[in-house]
Amino acid sequence: MATPVLAATATARATRRRGGRRSLTPYLYIAPFFLVFGVFGAFPLAYTAFISLFDWNPIGDQVFIGFDNYVALVADPRFWNASWNTVVIWVLSTVPQLAVALVLAAVLNQALLKFRTGFRMAVLVPNITSVLAVGIIFTQLFGRDYGMINSVIEALGGDRIDWVAGTFSSQFAVSTMVMWRWTGYNALIYLAAMQSIPRALYESAEIDGAGAIRRFFTITIPQVRPTIIFTVIVSTIGGLQIFAEPLVFGGQAGVTGGQSRQFQTLALFLYEQGFRNLEFGYASAIAWALFLIIVVLTIINLALSSRIASEK
């Protein structure tokens, strides 16, 4: 009696195993990504969440304190200050940056432009410059006593500005570094998108009497809309993690983002708490808060930018 049952089971098992092997192969192909993501992405993320529940001294006591770090974080004015600074610097740098990049791309896309390849390469140069070098150069340009920008202002009859000490002036200076570095990069992405727009669209518009500006707004921008959304999201993620620029700009007080924390970003606040004050648990809580803020802002952005020049 048992034999047919066993045989049937064995067949089923064999089938399942064969089927299993068949379906395993594609997973093996994509496994490297998930392994790397697991080791360098998911695990640190989870471990950070774990540490954030502790008063964590890496060479001393590690005391479980539940959600106390998060409670303290919400009540910490430095956190809200850093969040606000981050958003301001991000807006100050991203909005003009993407607008300029769009125009730049349109110019580079002109068929009549000479030395096109040269220009296209030139706009990418800032992006491959080390962020540290950018920071040092701009910090010197914005220097109070010996900076070139102040010399120019003075030559034009204005007063010297203590760029680092002021709130808006320092945030503006930091934003210019970000802008300088990333505008060309985004312009190239837009350029790639623009090159896939059919020429015929422009030609017929021209025949209908549309000028260059009209063509830019009614053909170019709607056509590159998906690319704009992509760059907005990427710039959001990058812009909210700004770290090296303000750190270098602040010099000795870089970690606190100046004497009044006037340009301390969230990433700097995280670094200050974690590595300078050795509050690793608290820093981990900040890291998670930063993660949540990025998620929320990205969703808002997605909603907003999908309306940019959307087809009616």
Binding site: P58, F243, F275
Partner: protein, 425 residues
């Protein structure tokens, strides 16, 4: 004793975790030779935060013993951050400097360091100042480090700028100008009024100098409570420093602008722990002979000084100890003082004419040996707690806010106390 490498501020530390593996010296753990001799051909890795004045001594030791030395210098705070992460991950150097302001961070974790008593530290304990030695001893008696120099304090000034301002420039004349810090500030105000130039480099340096004159700092003597908001010495340092905002060049200490200002003669007075003499000579070599040194108003004090530690997982602890005992011996510390200005932590020398009669040509033949000896001899141990450095940073930022005119001294005092309260909660 801070590095001048502004460019790598923080960034090195930011990349610490990723880079540690590459930073931790390359040599294999050494096997003690059968006859008890120390191994040769090893590379001893050393982490410091700048001019200890000991670099050449280390090279000389390496040459003599047939080993190599590999020194990695970082900024002051990033250095200690890197050391902490290194200890946590085990990718440690053979020798690492721990400054006194950070000693309370590391001492509770004594098990991460080699107990130097295993190698005979007890035998040389008597050579050093008691309180400097104690700064390297953990609660359980583990000796985690040997003391380097003592940061006895004095005041360096530019004789040429004093003359130009119509002030006396000889040491007796200058010392007669003020008997208290208040009078010192008044002289500064006169100087600034006459010349239109700042008198001091940085009010923050002024704050640290006066704060370091106290027998208590931010913590009570036994370390049991925080007294940063009630300690009269802190209040005094604050009042003096903020009152000096108008005569300060507002150059952040250890920044490139500060270095430039020092070399250009943008200010007339530099408050100077002994190691600062080394810094001035390095940053402003063209000003040789234009400086002189006098004692501080209102007594001596200590600013800085480090312990040289050997992490528990160091590859060559025996060799590392041998090096430390050699370069920190009284004889060598005397040589280092003569050459670089870092003041010895070995009181046996304080009677030695070679030290007390030493004068520095760079500083107009000022009797710097005697001045710093007197500054150091009266010193008592001062407790520095785990949040010492973080609190000091907040006070420094508060003074910066006054210097740049953002806040009044009273507003800044309150905002500083608020900030410290968040830091120590």
């Amino acid at each position: 004793m801070r590095s001048r490498r502004f460019a790598i501020t923080g960034l090195a530390a930011a990349a610490t975790i990723g880079l540690l593996a590459g930073c931790s010296g390359g040599s294999e753990p050494s096997e003690p030779a059968a006859d008890g001799e120390l191994p040769t051909g090893q590379t001893i890795s050393v982490w410091t935060f700048g001019a200890t004045g000991l670099e050449e001594s280390m090279e000389a030791w390496a040459e003599e013993t047939g080993n190599e030395i590999e020194i990695k210098t970082s900024e002051f705070d990033p250095h200690h951050e890197q050391l902490l992460t290194a200890l946590a991950t085990g990718a440690v150097p053979d020798v690492a400097l721990v400054e006194t302001a950070y000693s309370s961070v590391f001492k509770p974790s004594a098990e991460f360091f080699t107990d130097l008593r295993e190698y005979g530290a007890d035998d040389i304990e008597g050579d050093f100042l008691d309180w400097r030695w104690a700064q390297g001893v953990a609660d359980d008696g583990t000796v985690i480090g040997l003391p380097t120099d003592v940061g006895g304090m004095a005041l360096a000034y530019r004789t040429d700028l004093f003359e130009a301002a119509g002030l006396p420039s000889d040491t007796d004349g200058v010392e007669a100008l003020w008997s208290s810090w208040e009078e010192f500030v008044e002289v500064g105000e006169e100087y600034t009024e006459t010349t239109g130039e700042p008198f001091l480099d940085d009010a923050g340096v002024f704050f640290q100098t006066v704060y370091n004159q106290g027998d208590e700092k931010f913590y009570s003597a036994d370390g049991s409570e925080l007294i940063y908001d009630s300690n009269p010495q802190v209040q005094l340092a604050w009042d003096l420093a903020t009152s000096a905002a108008g005569i300060s060049a507002n150059l952040a200490a250890f920044s490139p602008e500060w270095n430039t200002g020092m070399a250009n003669g943008d200010y007339a007075v530099q408050l100077a722990p002994a190691w600062m003499l080394n810094y001035i000579q390095g940053q402003a070599p063209d000003t040789a002979g234009l400086w002189n040194v006098v004692t501080l108003p209102e007594g001596g004090g200590n600013w800085g000084g480090s312990q040289m530690t050997v992490p528990a997982e160091a590859a060559n602890p025996a060799l590392a100890y041998d090096m430390l005992a050699t370069i920190l011996s009284p004889e060598n510390q005397l040589d280092v003082f003569k050459e670089f200005g870092n003041f010895p932590s070995t009181p046996g020398l304080y009677e030695d004419p070679a030290l007390t009669e030493f004068t520095s040509p760079f500083f107009s033949d000022a009797p710097v040996g005697l001045i710093y000896t007197e500054s150091v001899e009266a010193l008592e141990p001062v407790y520095e707690g785990p949040k010492e450095r973080a609190i000091l940073r907040e006070f420094g930022l508060g003074i910066d806010r006054v210097e740049s005119g953002d806040e009044s001294p009273d507003e800044a005092w309150q905002s500083t106390l608020d900030a410290v309260a968040l830091e120590v909660q």
